[in-house]
């Protein structure tokens, strides 16, 4: 296994912190009822996004889900336009038409997110097909949750990608839950990567709370894809901290094992890396503090920018239904 350059470790740490701080800011401000759209946070799952983002080139593609703040930021997305979108402002990435669930940013290669579980998986395969036809060595990431693999379209997309040996990497963020429903009520086994083996492509499992593991797996899969080696499947096992949709804690609803939840939180992807970076002397206490401070103010700046931006005008309602 190739070692990971220091600046890559720093970058991933920085991005995990940014994701955490931006989502904490969303959580702080959400009850003001100014972000009037459903919001699915990635707090606790930052390592998966950061690991993916650091393994990609700017021209690579990502297709995500309604829970994509993390990969948007990890791919280099601007917090300002994202928050403005949540606030429904004309400065938002989609001018207030997408909200959080359909966050899209073609300018950074984040081609589509969907409020439909599994909806973007075949699109990712289609983008990979395009890259192949275009003779480009671009890689595409299909990013989705554990329950998305229960949708028939996942199967169809996996089969086609394997058949045509397309440059796509399927990254399944397995947090064991679909809303309040544990995977045990949805699949006969929670080892999704084993089922994926049936599709004639490399398939492995990584600790989704260890950013280095995620990065290494995605980097290797992306390399394989660029070389024409076809698709891969990666299951990143992690855990959602807050409620499925919204900023609150929902353990009082008693749908999941509280000890299990605590154990996962103790394995916070950021804290784990904190320790390591300090032990390995890659960063100092104060540098880390600095990063957290910077991220926090970037987040609040984004909120301020969003709040200060104008709403779209009523006469814009019908704009953009069709492309010219």
């Amino acid at each position: 296994m190739k070692s990971i350059p220091t600046e890559t470790m720093r970058l991933m740490y920085e991005r995990m912190v940014l994701i955490r701080e931006v989502e904490e800011a969303i959580a702080r401000h959400y009850d003001e009822q100014e972000m009037r759209c459903p919001m699915h946070l990635s707090i606790g799952q930052e390592a998966v996004s950061a690991g993916i983002g650091a393994a990609l080139r700017p021209d690579d593609y990502i297709f995500g889900t309604y829970r994509s703040h993390g990969i948007y930021l990890a791919k280099g997305g601007d917090p300002k336009t994202m928050l403005a979108e949540f606030y429904g402002k004309s400065t938002g990435g989609a001018g207030g038409r997408a909200g959080s669930m359909q966050l899209t940013a073609p300018e950074i290669g984040f081609l589509c997110a969907s409020a439909l579980v599994g909806g973007t998986i075949p699109m990712a395969v289609g983008a990979a097909l395009a890259s192949k036809l275009q003779r480009e060595d671009r890689a595409t990431i299909a990013f989705f949750g554990d329950a998305a693999t229960e949708e028939g379209v996942w199967h169809e997309a996996m089969n086609f990608a394997a058949l045509k040996k397309l440059p796509v990497v399927f990254v399944c963020e397995n947090n064991f839950f679909a809303v309040y429903t544990h995977i045990a009520e949805r699949q006969p086994s929670d080892k999704i990567y084993e089922r994926a083996r049936g599709y004639s492509m490399p398939s492995l499992e990584v600790d989704g709370n260890k950013v280095a593991e995620v990065f290494t797996a995605v980097r290797d899969a992306v390399e394989l894809a660029r070389e024409g080696g076809g698709p891969s499947f990666i299951e990143a096992r992690t855990y959602r901290w807050r409620e499925h949709c919204g900023p609150a804690w929902d353990d009082h609803l008693d749908y999941r094992n509280i000890d299990e939840a605590k154990a996962w939180m103790a394995r916070c992807p950021i804290k784990q890396l904190d320790k390591q970076l300090l032990e390995d002397r890659l960063m100092t206490e104060s540098e880390l503090k600095g990063l957290h401070q910077a991220a926090k103010s970037a987040a609040e700046e984004a909120v301020a920018f969003a709040k200060g931006s104008p709403f779209p005008q009523p006469n814009e309602l019908m704009h953009g239904v069709y492309a010219p």
Partner: protein, 352 residues
């Protein structure tokens, strides 16, 4: 005093009573037994009937719908849920190609006694993929029945009729009706699938509404009454089989027709209603019929645009007054900008 229930309570009571009365009835779907219990509409069922007859599922809308059909063919009476009608789009093959065709293509030998509960909604940033009103897809298909209850009373009575029906029923609820309360009798009673329901009588204009738009239509009727205009308000609670008799009767009485739908105007069910009246009451309308429905664009998430996307009572009032030849009254047709328009009531925290 009469017992009042909320719409969502009426729904769970209907299923509970039917599961008690008929062991062939069971209910399943994504989130059915979870803490939120499909916005409360399946609350208590798992505790009451156990997890064999009340269960959660994988995310497999098409497969689950086929599973319901198969269970129905094998003697059960499944009730399944698609929490949003947008998700039912994944199941169109099973609903349209299979459930709807089975009885006819078996030469009438087989029935498919299944009820598909699904929800439409509006507002609160749900956006283009979580707020569509696709009832006309199903209303177009022979072999299906399509029911859209408005009140808690009708929700319970129509759900019981649907579960007892030997055909596939698309039972389409509206999220903004879930907290509506009203009188709901105890025990099993039936509201027949078919007839259009008269909510209010008036001589001047006929307002035919579907689902939540009945609420807006009744508000409009109130506002109109204040200015001396009396409206007939009819609710089409069954889109298929469609019984237009009450509508024709009312429209021939008032000579004026407004159709208010939650869906897009173009190629929606509101067109069918207007067409029926045009065909069957030719020459008897005093003014051109009009539809109050959605413009031709996907749902925007921002309230700044959504506020101008969804029709409300004020729009209906404006249309009615124009038909009556009365001057435009901004105060009646404009909406208050003080309260948020993207929630059913001001206590609504969102998200849906």
């Amino acid at each position: 005093m009469e017992r009042e229930l909320a719409y969502h309570q009426a729904l769970s009571e209907a299923v509970s009573l039917m599961m008690e009365a008929d062991e062939r009835v069971f209910i399943f779907g994504e989130g059915v037994p979870d803490p939120k219990a499909i916005f409360g509409s399946t609350a208590g069922l798992k505790e009451r009937f156990g997890d064999e007859r009340v269960f959660d599922t994988p995310l497999s809308e098409n497969g689950l719908t086929g599973i319901a059909i198969g269970a129905a063919l094998a003697g059960m009476r499944p009730v399944m849920t698609h929490q949003r009608i947008d998700f039912a789009l994944l199941a169109m093959d099973q609903i349209v190609n299979h459930a709807a065709k089975r009885c006819y293509t078996s030469g009438g030998k087989q029935g498919v006694p299944m009820t598909i509960r699904t929800i439409i909604g509006r507002g609160w940033g749900q956006g283009s993929q979580h707020s569509q009103s696709l009832q006309n897809f199903f209303a177009h298909i022979p072999g299906l029945k399509v029911v859209m209850p408005v009140t808690p009373y009708d929700a319970k009575g129509l759900l019981i009729s649907s579960i007892e029906d030997n055909n596939p029923v698309m039972f389409i609820e509206h999220r903004w009706l879930y907290n509506l309360t009203g009188h709901v009798p105890e025990g099993i009673y039936r509201v027949p699938i078919g007839p259009t329901k008269v909510f209010r009588e008036g001589k001047d204009v006929t307002i035919v509404a579907i689902s939540y738009m009945v609420v807006e239509a009744l508000r409009a009727a109130e506002m109109l009454a204040e200015t001396g205009v009396e409206a007939d308000v009819l609710a089409v609670q069954t889109l298929r089989p469609f019984d237009d008799s009450m509508i024709l009767e009312s429209a021939s009485k008032t000579g004026r027709l407004i159709v208010a739908d939650t869906a897009w105007e173009t190629a929606g069910f509101s067109a069918e209603i207007v067409a029926r009246v045009a065909e069957k009451l030719h020459g008897s309308l005093r003014s051109a019929p009009k539809r109050v429905a959605l413009p031709d664009c996907p749902t925007p998430t921002t309230p700044a645009l959504a506020n101008h996307y969804y029709p409300r009572a004020g729009h209906i009032v404006a249309v009615a007054r124009e038909m009556m030849g009365l001057p435009h009254e901004a105060t009646l047709s404009e909406w208050p900008t003080t309260v948020p328009l993207d929630v059913p009531d001001k206590n609504f925290p969102g998200p849906f």
